[in-house]
Symmetry: C2
Subunit: 418 residues, 2 copies
Amino acid sequence: MRFASVVIFVVLIFDNERVMSEKEYTVPGFKAGAIAAGIRYQGRPDLALIISEVSATAAGVFTTNKVQAAPVLLSRTHLTGNKARAIVANSGIANACTGEGGFQRAKSTAHIVAEAVGCPVHEVLVASTGVIGMDLPLEPLANCIPKLVSSVRGNGWFDAARAIMTTDTVPKIHMVKSRLQDHDFTVLGIAKGAGMISPDMATLLSFVATDAAISPAALQALIREETDRSFNRITVDGDTSTNDTLLVLANGLAGNRPVKKLDSSDGESLRQALGEVLLKLAKMIVADGEGATKFVKITVRGGSSQAAALLAARTVANSLLVKTALFGEDANWGRILAALGRAGIDLDPQRVQLFFNEVKLVEKGLAVGAEAETKVSKILKDSSFSLTIDLGQGKAEETVYTCDLSLDYVKINADYRS
Amino acid sequence: MRFASVVIFVVLIFDNERVMSEKEYTVPGFKAGAIAAGIRYQGRPDLALIISEVSATAAGVFTTNKVQAAPVLLSRTHLTGNKARAIVANSGIANACTGEGGFQRAKSTAHIVAEAVGCPVHEVLVASTGVIGMDLPLEPLANCIPKLVSSVRGNGWFDAARAIMTTDTVPKIHMVKSRLQDHDFTVLGIAKGAGMISPDMATLLSFVATDAAISPAALQALIREETDRSFNRITVDGDTSTNDTLLVLANGLAGNRPVKKLDSSDGESLRQALGEVLLKLAKMIVADGEGATKFVKITVRGGSSQAAALLAARTVANSLLVKTALFGEDANWGRILAALGRAGIDLDPQRVQLFFNEVKLVEKGLAVGAEAETKVSKILKDSSFSLTIDLGQGKAEETVYTCDLSLDYVKINADYRS
């Protein structure tokens, strides 16, 4: 069997299967930490640093928004060398829409870190999240980065995860331990973002470290594919950010021969572990969506193509009327059908079936009946459930994860800059 | 001059230039009225009827949603004859997603009206708005329609406008008087809809009556074009409805020779009047958008094509983060740029300029400064203002109308069915 040698020890915060202490989150050869630099607010950690003892293979995935923040532009450039020693990330100010001046500020940040760490500037990756259009102040960075460099530690990941939070209510971290070529390896990721890919307060940032050895090309291909199965399958509000960034460092200290082909047993081991970390982080982001009270897995099956199934799932997941009905715990299936009707896919309403968890609510486009609605109303009171839509057109299936739209979402986003 | 002979007396409720009494709203040869039929709620008018004394030329525009309600399917069929005597519309229950049974109920409604009015069934057009998936009860219709037919009157338009309201807070009506071929004519329209084209509570319904004479083909072409400039340029929440319906009746009693070519002085007279009515009604719908506290005209100019300008305007108009910032009276231009960045259009952020009313807030993709922001913050406290976006790409310009996303939007839509 292809995956016979793969044993995965999954550490689950999200599912509460086993709660580990913060100290257990470590990756050989990596240190992390944070400091309160006072970038926009005083007295809260707002600057995170991740350092690899050795120069690590590095890869990244960035926002598709045509308005790209300065740190995105800079990190893209630095990644052309496929090597990095450090990731520095701040919250509070996004350093987006700041022009050439903003780019210079991102560069200066990298310079300060490079000097303190003792590595080339292009081996420092930068990321920012916060308000768009404000200048990133360099004074606090210059003051704090040297202290931060000397205070990072092997088990400082939670501190880093907390420092990049904006409207997040909980830090997001996930770790997987696995084996390849008889070598143990670890993949550990942190993330922030409480509206999926949304412009300023809810930028999605994720940083992942592994001690596995992998070639730059394989790493880049792997994270692009797995991003598509995780962060690109979640939505909170349909907006996208100028700053979304996923950075992965692989320092090779696990001692395995570098993985060069993903289509191999070793490649699969890495994919399982990395994919697991990214998907867990993505789900945590939705569950902690701005104002969210419901976590909803939306699966569309019976699609005429993968693209149609995904488009249908995304349209339902982003419909304000569906999302407000979920908040209201209202089994308002008419809104789901109406969202499907405008999704731009082939649709025969009379073939559509809807299920909440295992309960069928709609068959042939019509309500099954009062009993089913009563059952579904109970399911909707839970904080987490699934909605399955069968289009009855073909065999394609896609899943996205979303949350409800609550009063708190509006409060958070109406008040954000004040 | 082409339009020299056109004199338009515009009656403005919306702009408050002149407030007319309800009795002044009449169209020669038309009667309207409403009754409390108890379709879903007791004691409120929920059934509206419009009757033309003579068989009128009829045309309609319907939802593009692939899930179409029974009354939409029936009215489409009846309109193939291009003639109608009556429009009957109910609120409370949308008669959508109700299958063959729902279609029969729509048909029965038309039958009851046809019998009471004394006209062929296919000269009765039907429309519904309300909850999806519930059966439309025929008993109250059978009881009330004969009474309603005998109580309609020339100045009963406000009653009809009130009866089709759902989450609307004010009835929507507009009338234009004009002349063509030395004949006076009137165009009067009513509408409802408080979320633009949104599935169940906020279906857009609009019924327009005119005594001008026009050929069926010209009328159909005219209302399609003018719908595109009015109802298709507004958005409250980006959702579309299963029931959206615009119906226009032209009974010809003004005595003009029927207008056959729109590209003529007569055609322009009609276009001016009808376009004015539809645009006013569309703006009223946005201003009364569910929970709306702001009416915002968004103009995108400098687009590389009309399609790009329209897509940019719509993306900004539908962005949850832009709409919540408007609710928060926050000059959060970064969210506007970020929405443009994901619109899928050619974009060079450094060419973008943003204006609120006449105040430039962003130039070359960067904030103009604190003074401009202070001025804009004042503008944002108004209940109505414009946002102009110059993309700096070309010469195309498009305008859409939107509203903010407030706490009340969520409250209204979370509680709607309960």
